[in-house]
Structures are given as C-alpha cells and as structure tokens.
C-alpha cells in the first residue's frame, strides 16, 4: 500500500498540470516578403509529384506572387529519361545538377529548400523533408521581413529571342555581410512523361521547371553595401534557346546571403518573360 501511495505521489508530482491551453493556429494572408521554394525533383521520382501538388495548394493559399516555386530536376538517382513513352526533354542540365549540389542532398523525397533556410542545424543540406512540414516553415518565413524590396523589369525581343532584365534592389534596413543575386529562368506547363506514384503519366504537366541560370549558380556577389535607403540597379541579358516557349517562361530573381553566415534568401521576385 505504501508503495502504491509513493507511486501515486510521484505520478502526481511528475505529471501535474496536465491541463494546458491549446496553441493558437494562425490564419495566413500574403505578407510583403515573398518566399522562394527550390523543389528538388526528377522525372523518375515517383513521390515528387505529391510534393509539387502540395506546393500548388500552398500557392493558392499564400498567393502566386508571394510563393515562388522553382523545380530543379537534380534528384539523385531519379533523373534518367523515361523510355516508354520516351522523354522528349532533358530537364537535368549541368546547371540543374550544380544547383542541386549547392543546395545539398535530400534525406528522402519530396524535398525542397525553403528560402534556403537551414532547418536542421546538424545537416549541411538545405533540403527539407517531409513535405508535410513545408507549410509550417513557409508560414513562419512569411512572418519575417528583412526590409528588402525587389523590382524586376523584363524586355523580350521575339525576333532575336533576347531577354533584357533590370533588377532594382531597395534596402529599407541595413543588410550587412555578403549578399548575392541569383537570376534564373523557369518554364511552366511542359508536357512530358513523369513517374507519379505507381504509374508513368505520359502527358504529365511539369510546373516551374528550372531551365537556365543567368548569373553564376552560387549567385553574383553584390559589391555595394546595402544600407538603409540604398538603391542598386543590375542589368542582365540572356538569349532564350529555341526550344524554350517564351510565353511560358518566367524570370526568378532573388537576393541571398553568401555562404557565410548562412545562405538564406532575403527576398525574391518572379515575372513572366512575356506579360
């Protein structure tokens, strides 16, 4: 009996105050900060479309202008072409592989980097799994702001297929450290086979496919100090290859830290090549 009383006493002490208030659940609306998602995928990756669908669902919630998606076909071991029906496109370019390596390997798929935030401090990779955790991390990213505005203007000349891009950075706060600018081109709605679950979908619609990188893959360093009130303008030109559909292409530009102290994306912007 003494033993039972002792145990009950211990239990009462150890597990007292079991009643607690629920954690408030936020309702989201798009903030000023935009969030960049770099999704690691591959046409042989059977579970990756599940992640893509989750991102599209989140884009509907957070807003298409606010949640910017880039699909990088560099998922290790899942990028070889499909033979039946045969793949018509090769999304796994040298630049895609280079960017995938820069972001780090994934513990599994679907996997994505969210504003290049280091979610697991113990891992060198920026890739976040499982995909069910993305919504929460994206929500937290929308609640932060570095006070950096980006303006992107595109001019596309169909005859020469030359694309001129003007990026204007406006800092509302001091942003010390090494800042870099990365610009890349995505193409949306490319129809080509994709493994999806247990099936190969012949006419799968590939979304936000990373086609090319205009700057260096690791980003071009911004030599100007970004102090409060600083405005910096950058100009780039790029010729779209013939097999890219300009009407479905977008320019994605983002400012991010250099490798030290982290690689976090401060702000991002996306604009169609042809409005």
């Amino acid at each position: 009996m003494k033993r039972l009383l002792f145990l009950l006493l211990l239990a009462a002490i150890g597990f007292s105050a079991c009643k607690e208030e629920p954690v408030p659940i936020p309702d989201f609306s798009s903030g000023e900060r935009r969030v960049l998602i770099e999704e690691l995928t591959g046409i042989q990756c059977a579970v990756c479309p599940k992640g893509t669908r989750e991102l599209l669902r989140l884009q509907d919630i957070f807003g298409k202008d606010s949640l910017i998606i880039v699909s990088i076909h560099a998922a290790s071991g899942f990028t070889s072409p499909i033979s039946n029906p045969p793949s018509q496109n090769n999304f796994t370019t040298a630049q895609a592989l280079e960017l995938g390596t820069l972001l780090g390997s994934a513990d599994g798929f679907p996997a994505a980097a969210i504003n290049r935030k280091q979610v697991d401090p113990g891992s060198p990779s920026l890739m976040v799994t499982p995909f069910t955790s993305w919504a929460g991390i994206i929500g937290a990213e929308f609640q932060k702001s570095y006070g950096l505005d980006l303006l992107l203007e595109n001019h596309y000349e169909p005859a020469t297929r030359q694309l001129d891009m003007k990026i204007t950075l406006g800092a509302n706060n001091a942003l010390p450290g090494e800042n870099r600018l990365t610009i890349l081109i995505t193409q949306d709605s490319i129809v080509d086979p994709q493994k999806d679950g247990t099936e190969i979908v012949p006419a799968y619609i590939h979304r936000h496919v990373m086609r090319g990188i205009v700057t260096a893959t690791a980003g071009d360093p911004i030599p100007e100090a970004l102090n409060k009130g600083t405005v910096v303008e950058k100009n780039y030109s790029f010729t779209l290859p013939a097999d890219w559909v300009a009407e479905h292409c977008s320019v994605v530009a983002y400012v991010h830290h250099g490798p030290v102290p982290d690689r976090e994306v401060l702000q991002a912007i996306e604009k169609h090549v042809v409005e």
Binding site: L7, S83, S105, A135
Partner: protein
C-alpha cells in the same frame, strides 16, 4: 563542444587513476568502410559516393570503465562521407563524442547521467536504443534515478532529450516505471512480473509554432487543437506457470500530432491535402503466449495498433526520431531472398497475429512452422507469410536445413510500388564438417514471383577454417523474363544481371577483420520491423570489429 570536454576529462582523469583494485576497463571498436565502384548497369550510380567521393566510412570506439562502485563510458563516433544516415544519396560527415554516461548505485538508489539506453515494458511507450545497421541511436540525454523498494520491486524515473546524431531533438521527455516480481508460492513454478509506466513528451516552441503554421494552411474542418504535451501510459505483465509463459502489454496515448504522408483518411474524405497532420488518441495491445518443452514449443503473438506513432517531432519520419518501439509481427528471416520482402511496422494502424510451432521428432530431426498475418485496421491485407522448415543433423558430420516461404506482400503500402507481391521461396542450407575445424556451408534459394522485378536465384558457399579464416562466395541472379518486350521497362531493368560477392574474414581472438567485394541489389533493409529502402551497392566493404 565545451560540454563534451568535461566527460572526456573526467574519463581520462579517472582512467589515469586506475591501477586500483576492482577497476575494470573494457571496450570495443566497430569500423565499416565502403569503397564505391560505379556500375550504372545495376543502378549503382547517381549518388555523390559513386560520382565523386568514392569512399565512405563509419566507426564507433567504445570504452567502459568501472571502479569504486561507478560505471562510466565514453564513445567516439566518426562518420566520413557516410551513406548510413541516408543511403539514397546522403553524405553524412561528423565526429565527436557519440555517448558518455556515469552510473552509480548508492544503497537502494540508482543514478545514471549522460546518454542513457532504457525501455519500458516491450518498448511500446518508450525505448531508447541503438541499431547501427540503420543508424538509429536515440539514447536519452538526461538523468535517470531508480529506487529499489526491495529485491522484487523497483521504480525509476527519467528526464531529458533524445539524441539526434551529435545533437538532440528539441522535445523534452520524462517518464517513470514501476516493475515488480511476484512469486506467491516458493514451492511452485508460478511467477508474475507486472509493471506500469508513463511517459510524457513536450514539444519545444519552434516545433509547436511550425505545426501551428502548418495547420493554418488547412481548411477549417481539418484543423485541430494543438497542445505541447502528449502522455502515454502502459500496463504490462509476464506470467510464468511451468512451461507456459504469457506476456501482455496494453498502452494508451493522449491526443498527439500524427503525420500521415499518404493522407489516406483525407483522400477518402475528399481533402485536397496530399499528406497531412492529424490528431489522434492511440492505443496498442500486444500479447505473446508461449509453451515450451524439450521436444515441443509453440508461440502465439497478437498485436493491434492504432495511431501509436510517438515521435520527438511529427515532421521527422522514417527510421529517425521515434520515442518508442512497436514489436514486429513477422518472422525474423535471415536468408538473402527470404528477407527481400520484409514488412515494416505500421505505426498508424495495424492488426497482426503470428504463430510459431517447433517440434523435435528425435535428436536428429526437428520441424518448425511459422505463420504471420498482418492487416490494416480496415482488414486490408498487408502481409502474410507461411514458412514450414526442417532441420536434420547427421551425427556430427553434416546438417541440412530446408524450408519454403510462401508470402503475400502489399508492396504498395510498404514500398510505394504497385499492388501485391505473391512469392514462393524454397531454400536450403547444408553444413558439412570435414574436421572439427574445417567446414563448408552452402546456401541455395529460389524466389519465384511474377511481381516487382520477377524471380531471383541465390547461391552461397562458405568455407571455414577455425579459428581464424572464413572465405565466402555468393551470387544473386535475376532470372530473365521470357518475353521482356511485353513487360514494363522498370520490371525488366535487372533481367540477366548477376550480383556476386566474395569475402574473406580473419578472426584473431576477439578481433574480426573482413574484406569483401559486394554487388547488392536495391531493396528494403529491416531490423526489428524498422525498415528503410536502400539502393544498389557496388564496391568493396571492409569491416573491423574488435573487443578488449
């Protein structure tokens, strides 16, 4: 890093003082080295290890020291471009103190501090353990205090955070267990070993906020109340009466955040969310009844699990992050082809039964039959295995083991591939002793199936010269489909391929050195029902195990 210096200093200081009576220093070293040789034909390519790094290794050096009533230990862990944490292209680099602990008994009290391994009952509500083949090491980094009421009854309580490689999970864990031993009549062989335990896990603020933000993206009907704490309680007992043993454990868990990557419930309800979090109150009931005599033995196990994933963080899935361990309900097979389709324990819902019967006809011949049946909670078949087996010994000269595995495996649930695998695998093992020190062991298996990649055949020959040398040669061959042009490319991609292995083992007292050239097909690697997919391997493997 500073916090690691103290245990190292203490250990070295105390070690230097040894030489006193009753001191004892023991240890062991385990090292695995993998040399990756690219072979695109069998799918061994496309990971950093094959493409660039070429070598990966992991090593554990463990030291234990006892003196003055103290037990203490220190373990150095090294991971060099290792693929053990994530075999599918992951590169894990790290080194440091993987474990330290100090333990002391003072009268009826018992204290442990540091990284502690422990479990309550069969582990259903709490198990801190290490399984190196899957790089599971969820030791509790904290403090444990025990008290012995008498020689039969003891209680212990613990608190801390669980280990995550070289850091810890942010959730805080606390628990308590009371265990006893009752023998009502000392003249009869009847005993009870009851126990009761409770565990609580509290999320940290960052995890709670991340869950709340995730729920904020869900439609209102799919949101739920989120709380920091989850509680689990268990009641267990082992009854022994003569040759009969009965273990029973029943556990419940308060509402917890569960991660259903497939979102089966949501899909059925028309939800647009692909994979989702939900809240569930869980339970697990597990029982095992065994009757064993010298000639006859029978074991019957049953288990029902509902919403009993209990993790440090709901966003950490797979083999990492569990606080508990649910007993597996299928036979622990050992042969290469009989382990090809192993069922992973389903934490969110599973009901299973397993029967194992053993009968020794005489001292030379024994028979064994194992039957296991696993279903989900909607009675959908997940796994069924029927394996009759015999073992025949001829004097001390040779021994023959033969069996037939008949299984049905829901490969869609376990591996995300299509449908079911129906497989029949006859297997045999023959051990012949030329002399008491020289022997030959031969294995042969044939896995017959129409599904996944089709049928396989495997053979192994192992020549042993005790006490030092062992040489083995094996090959696993993928039998070609008769009409490959009519099959899907995925199904015939390994047709006609060989996966040979040659290895040499040298043993010197408690030291074992092994070098092998290995080609191993992709598949599921399981340990105790905890499974993960591992890709094809091609290359050399070096293993060193040493105890001192």
């Amino acid at each position: 890093m500073k916090h690691l210096l103290l245990p190292v200093f203490l250990f070295i200081s105390i070690g230097c003082l040894q030489g006193q009576d009753n001191s004892r220093l023991t240890g062991n070293l385990q090292t695995n080295g993998n040399f990756f040789i690219k072979d695109s034909a069998i799918g061994a390519s496309g990971t950093p290890q094959y493409d660039n790094l070429k070598f990966g290794a992991e090593s554990w050096l463990n030291l234990n020291y006892s003196n003055w009533g103290f037990d203490m230990g220190l373990r150095f862990d090294l991971f060099s471009n290792s693929n053990l944490l994530n075999p599918n292209g992951g590169v894990f680099v790290g080194k440091g103190i993987g474990r330290w602990y100090i333990h002391k008994e003072i009268d009826k009290f018992d204290f442990s501090g540091g990284y502690i391994y422990d479990q309550i009952g069969s582990g259903i509500i709490f198990r801190a353990y290490e399984e190196r083949s899957l790089l599971i090491d969820n030791a509790l980094y904290g403090l444990k205090v025990g008290y012995n009421f008498d020689e039969n009854w003891k209680v212990r309580a613990f608190a801390g955070q669980e280990k995550r490689q070289f850091s810890t999970y942010a959730a805080n864990v606390r628990g308590m267990v009371l265990e006893g031993f009752v023998k009502p009549d000392s003249s009869k062989n009847f005993t009870l070993a009851p126990g009761v335990g409770v565990v609580s896990r509290a999320f940290d603020k960052e995890t709670a906020d991340r869950i709340a933000n995730t729920l904020g993206t869900y439609p209102l009907p799919e949101r739920f109340d989120l709380k920091y704490n989850t509680y689990a309680a268990t009641l267990f007992n082992t009854l022994t009466a003569g040759d009969f043993t009965w273990f029973f454990e029943g556990a419940i868990k308060s509402p917890d955040v569960l991660n259903d990557a497939a979102n089966v419930a949501g899909n059925n309800a028309g939800s647009e969310i692909q994979g989702k979090l939900y809240s569930g109150t869980g339970h697990t009931i597990y029982t095992s009844m065994a009757y064993a005599t010298r000639k006859f033995g029978v074991t019957l196990e049953g288990k029902r699990t509902k919403d009993f994933s209990f993790r440090n963080d709901p966003f950490v899935v797979g083999v990492q992050g569990p606080l508990n361990f649910l007993p597996p309900m299928a036979r622990q097979n050992t042969y290469r082809l009989t382990t090809r389709f192993s069922p992973a324990t389903q934490e969110l819902g599973e009901q299973a039964i397993q029967l194992d019967i053993r009968y020794s006809i005489n001292k030379n011949l024994s028979l064994n039959v194992n039957v296991s049946e696993i279903q989900d909670l909607d009675n959908t078949e997940l796994y069924r295995e029927i394996t009759p087996e015999f073992a025949y010994k001829y004097k001390r000269k040779w021994q023959l083991i033969g069996g037939l595995q008949v299984l049905k495996y829901n490969i869609e649930v376990y591996q995300g591939k299509k449908g079911y695998v129906d497989a029949v695998t006859p297997y045999g093992e023959w051990l012949y002793k030329f002399t008491p020190r020289k022997s030959l062991r031969v294995e042969a298996q044939y896995l017959n199936t129409e599904q996944e990649f089709g049928s396989w055949v495997f053979g192994l020959a192992e020549l042993a010269w005790a006490p030092h040398w062992l040489l083995y040669v094996s090959d696993m061959y993928k039998i070609k489909h008769p009409n490959p042009e009519t099959e899907e490319a995925e199904k015939v991609k390994y047709d006609g391929l060989h996966y040979p292995t040659v290895g040499l083992v040298y043993t010197q007292k408690a030291n074992r050195f092994e070098v092998a050239y290995v080609k191993q097909v992709e598949g599921i690697n399981c340990s105790g029902g905890i499974c993960r997919f591992e890709p094809t391997f091609s290359g050399f493997r070096v293993k060193i195990n040493s105890s001192f």
